[in-house]
């Protein structure tokens, strides 16, 4: 599903923030990416959700060589990827409901076709009574849940979550982890970047990769996966 081969990345003319990254995500797997702040977790995810091109190496996503992928062919690929951004990146002028509708709206699907599903999803993440609130009026934890709902609403094949439990109390963190495990059981490939080791220890059969100063090492393999 995802394959990195000797990937390097830099921002503009800056130093390489990722060096010689090689790994593979199997379809249906769940993996954790840990590392100290500034290690390059977000940067690695950014490469995966096609927000940035690698400065060297090869990235294959869903069998497509990202290095040579024309711009026009990125949207269909991006629609298969759900992202929970570290800073949420919700649209502040739109209600929680509209924010969650967004990934479906941009596909041009008719609104009546998904509105009730979106409401149901928001209720399920505990925001049934906050649907019409705009992000600036939501708490950190509420925003987190809106961001997660937006990431999963279009049923992506790959879910990338950048510090999804960073803004919530441990109890909600565990609930969110269960949500991710549930999605994974239903077939979604998941990668979670976190510095919360307790979270990683709770998912013993997940793959665990560690990144430090731009260099990746595999701490623990999940069954059947190869580095």
């Amino acid at each position: 599903m995802v394959r990195f081969e000797n990937v390097g990345m830099r921002y503009g003319m800056g130093p390489e923030v990722l060096r010689d990254i090689s790994f593979k995500l199997e379809t249906g797997s769940i993996s954790f990416l840990t590392g100290p702040s500034g290690a390059g977790k977000s940067s690695l995810l950014r490469l995966m959700y096609l927000a940035h091109r690698p400065s060297r190496g090869h990235i294959t996503m869903f069998g497509e060589d990202v290095n040579v992928l024309p711009r026009a062919e990125m949207p269909p690929l991006r629609r298969r990827i759900g992202v929970v951004f570290q800073e949420f990146r919700l649209l502040d002028h739109m209600s929680a409901l509209e924010n969650v509708c967004l990934p479906l709206m941009v596909t041009g699907a008719p609104r009546e076709g998904y509105l009730s599903d979106v409401r149901e999803l928001l209720t399920w993440v505990g925001l049934g009574d906050r649907m019409n609130a705009t992000p600036p009026t939501l708490s950190g934890g509420e925003k987190q849940r809106v961001a997660i709902a937006r990431a999963v609403v279009a049923q992506p094949d790959l879910l990338l979550a950048d510090e999804p439990t960073g803004n919530v109390d441990p109890e909600l963190g565990i609930k969110l982890l269960r949500l991710f495990m549930e999605l994974n059981r239903m077939g979604t490939t998941i990668m979670i970047a976190t510095h919360d080791m307790a979270l990683v220890d709770r998912a013993q059969d997940a793959m665990h990769m560690h990144i430090d100063q731009g260099q990746l090492s595999v701490v623990r393999m999940s069954e059947g996966a190869l580095p």
Partner: protein, 306 residues
């Protein structure tokens, strides 16, 4: 009938629903843009009015260019009016390049003066100038200076009014005025395009984060461009309507207040009535130009991103 109204209502509802769904409308912050486009549309309306009117006049006048000269015979003491006319006709008909000459049926003094004095009873014997209509032979180019010379020598009180000459000159002037107005129209459109390019870039810069998020969740450039397009559709329509209405009011009041006198000297110098329905095109044109420009600008800006 009710179905028809239902259809109209549905259409209007759909029209009202055409607004950007995702990019926040910055209408409040956009009044300078509205102002500039409204001014452009005002100028375009005036230019359009001039173009239509002038082309009307030029057409009317060039239709007269078949070539008519009027010879006016003023009453003089030394010769009777009938003799004056007979002699003038003789001289004119003898001139090469003239097809025909005929006396314009006499108008009574009372009729001539009526517009000025109202219906009045005048003494029957007040002499008034009489007119001779002279038609030039097709392609004929008589020496009018010589003809004038001969006429004034032989007939006291004769005056040659070669108004087709100055009409021709006026026609040419009208033609260049028309060309000028059309050129102005093109420049106005070009300026509007430039303004909308600027405004679109600014709007996209202001909504950079939204655009990036839209891209990352899989929106195509077309979708994002559409968001901006729709905003400029309304800006163009609104500003165009304002500009055209202001221009229409101005032109109408000019025609009403100045038209009374202007009409007397130069018939049809008020703006032709066709201008007013044509002004309806201005907001549509403004909306069209804005939408097209916003789209092309947005697509080219987006094309430079990842």
């Amino acid at each position: 009938m009710t179905r028809f109204f239902a259809y109209i209502r549905q259409f209007l509802d759909r029209l009202a629903a055409i607004r950007s769904a995702v990019v926040p409308p910055a209408d409040g912050a956009r009044w300078p843009l509205h102002l500039v486009i409204a001014v452009m549309c005002f100028l375009a309306s005036i230019a359009l009015g001039i173009t239509l009117t002038v082309s009307n006049i030029a057409e009317e006048w060039s239709a007269d260019l078949a070539g008519v000269i009027t010879v006016q015979i003023k009453p003089r003491e030394e010769m009777a009016m009938e003799d004056q006319i007979a002699r003038a006709l003789e001289i004119i008909e003898a001139t090469p390049g003239i097809a025909s000459a005929a006396r314009v049926p006499a108008t009574s003094a009372a009729e001539l003066l009526e517009p000025w004095l109202g219906a009045v009873t005048l003494p029957e014997d007040i002499a008034v100038p009489q007119l001779i209509d002279v038609r030039l032979a097709p392609g004929g180019d008589p020496d009018l200076t010589a003809l004038t010379q001969r006429l004034t020598n032989a007939v006291p009180g004769a005056e040659v009014d070669d108004h087709f000459r100055w009409k021709a000159r006026l026609g040419a002037f009208a033609g260049s005025l028309e060309a000028l107005a059309i050129a102005a129209l093109f420049l106005i459109v070009a300026a509007t395009v430039a303004i909308v390019v600027f405004a679109t870039r600014a709007a996209m810069e202001a909504n950079r984060e939204i655009i990036e998020v839209l891209h990352l969740i899989g929106a195509r450039d077309k979708f994002i461009a559409g968001e901006f397009q729709v905003q400029f559709l309304w800006v163009g329509l609104r500003a165009g309507l304002i500009g055209a209405v202001v221009a229409a009011v101005l032109l109408l009041s000019l025609t009403i207040f100045a038209g009374g006198r202007g009409e007397f000297f130069l018939p049809g110098l008020g703006v032709t009535w066709q201008t007013y329905p044509a002004l309806l095109l201005v907001p549509l044109l403004a909306a069209g130009v804005s939408v097209m420009t916003a789209r092309l600008t947005a697509m080219s800006v987006l094309g430079q991103r990842l």
